[in-house]
């Protein structure tokens, strides 16, 4: 929630080329202090991995799926409150 002083969260889609990169991302998954929230976990090459991250990481190729999670959340909240007040 907005009360948390968090850096802008983003959701990144990671495209892993081979089994070695799948394992690399799995290692990342186990590093709790990185606060990575895997929406779609590492499985096998060709299976896109989606991860919510506090900030971009390293050189593994990725594309940003959601620019700013917080703004989407606020939009969703406003929509709910707007309906309720109506």
């Amino acid at each position: 929630l907005p009360t948390l002083t968090l850096p802008r969260h983003q959701v990144l889609r990671i495209s892993v080329a081979d089994e070695a990169q799948v394992q690399k991302v799995k290692e990342l998954e186990d590093l709790e202090d990185l606060q990575l929230d895997f929406w779609r976990g590492p499985a096998h090459p060709g299976f896109p991995i989606d991860v919510r991250v506090p900030s971009p990481s390293h050189s593994i190729s990725y594309e940003t799926m959601i620019e700013d999670v917080q703004s989407l959340l606020e939009e969703e909240q406003e929509q709910m409150f707007a309906f309720r007040s109506r």
Binding site: R13, D37, R40, A43, F47, M65, L72, M80, F83
Partner: protein, 294 residues
């Protein structure tokens, strides 16, 4: 809302608003719909299943609410659906994890686990789709309480899971079980914890194909299908691996919209289209179950 007609299906709701909706639905359709409490959550919230009256059995778990209106509207109007309801009961559990759902409204919109405490760990919650007694604890789940796919101390440790297990066992005559999640646009059947194909592989694969074709006929939304372990990845302790092990042949799990553009943050404007297209796939599965008794 004062009635299910004025209820706004195109916006997200709190747990209280959803539970009020259940009572409205029962009130408006006393001859068709009744509410059963199958347990209480870790934090003491009631867990409800709606029973849509008929005489045979399907269990739909986690269905979007907009589909309810459809059920009560279509009974008596839609011949195929009326035939299903004249022969089968339908059980609908909308909120399968009330504690987790309430937490997404109060504190963390991204929360997906239960809210149970694990002795010896500061981390909270178990992945309810890794806690079932089918390949429990094998690879495809995590033993780390801080992980999103933590399987829990033991199978059925989560009361939200045990309540469904007891309900299914007490009933004893459920013929199809469908568990609904988001996201990835997938329709999957067992197994998740092992690569060995299920005995009914061909039939479940054909039925999946028919269901996703029906789904795509409305807006062109493309779903892939297959066993859990092939379609997505190895996942142990999953819901439908357990229901299949109980003899419920037609055990399926959906991952609904989208494929990642919004992921868990699907805009409310897509709720109704998602429900409408999913309904066509559900109808296909229920009709097949009706016409293939076992």
């Amino acid at each position: 809302a004062r009635s299910t007609d004025t209820f706004n299906y195109a916006t997200y709701h709190t747990l209280e608003e959803i539970y009020d909706f259940l009572d409205l639905l029962v009130e408006e359709n006393p001859h068709l719909v009744s509410k059963i409490q199958i347990g209480n959550t870790y934090e003491g919230r009631p867990i409800y299943v709606l029973k849509v009256t008929s005489t045979w059995n399907t269990l739909l778990n986690g269905l979007p609410m907009q589909t309810f209106g459809k059920i009560t509207q279509d009974y008596g109007q839609d011949a195929a659906f009326t035939a299903i309801l004249d022969t089968m009961d339908i059980f609908l559990e909308i909120v399968t994890n009330p504690d987790g759902f309430a937490f997404t409204h109060s504190t963390n919109r991204m929360w997906r686990k239960t809210r149970s405490h694990t002795a010896g760990s500061l981390c909270i919650g178990v992945d309810p789709n890794r806690n079932w007694d089918a390949g429990f604890g094998l690879s495809g789940a995590s033993s780390n309480p801080c992980s999103e796919t933590y399987h829990g101390k033991f199978a059925n440790s989560e009361v939200e899971v045990k309540s469904i297990v007891d309900f299914v066992k007490d009933h004893g005559n459920i013929k199809a079980f469908i568990s609904i999640h988001s996201y990835s646009q997938l329709l999957m059947y067992p197994y998740g914890y092992k690569t060995e194909p299920v005995p009914d592989q061909d039939e479940l694969d054909q039925l999946s194909k028919a269901a996703v074709t029906a789904l795509a006929s409305l807006y062109g939304t493309k779903f892939n299908y297959g066993s859990i372990i092939k379609a997505i990845y190895q996942a142990s302790g999953s819901t439908i691996d357990w229901t299949y092990s109980q003899g419920i042949k037609y055990s399926f799990t959906f991952e609904l919209r989208d494929t990642g553009r919004y992921g868990f943050l699907l805009p409310a404007s897509q709720i109704i289209p998602t429900a409408k297209e999913t309904w066509l796939a559900l109808l296909t599965i229920m009709e097949h179950t009706l016409n293939h008794p076992y």
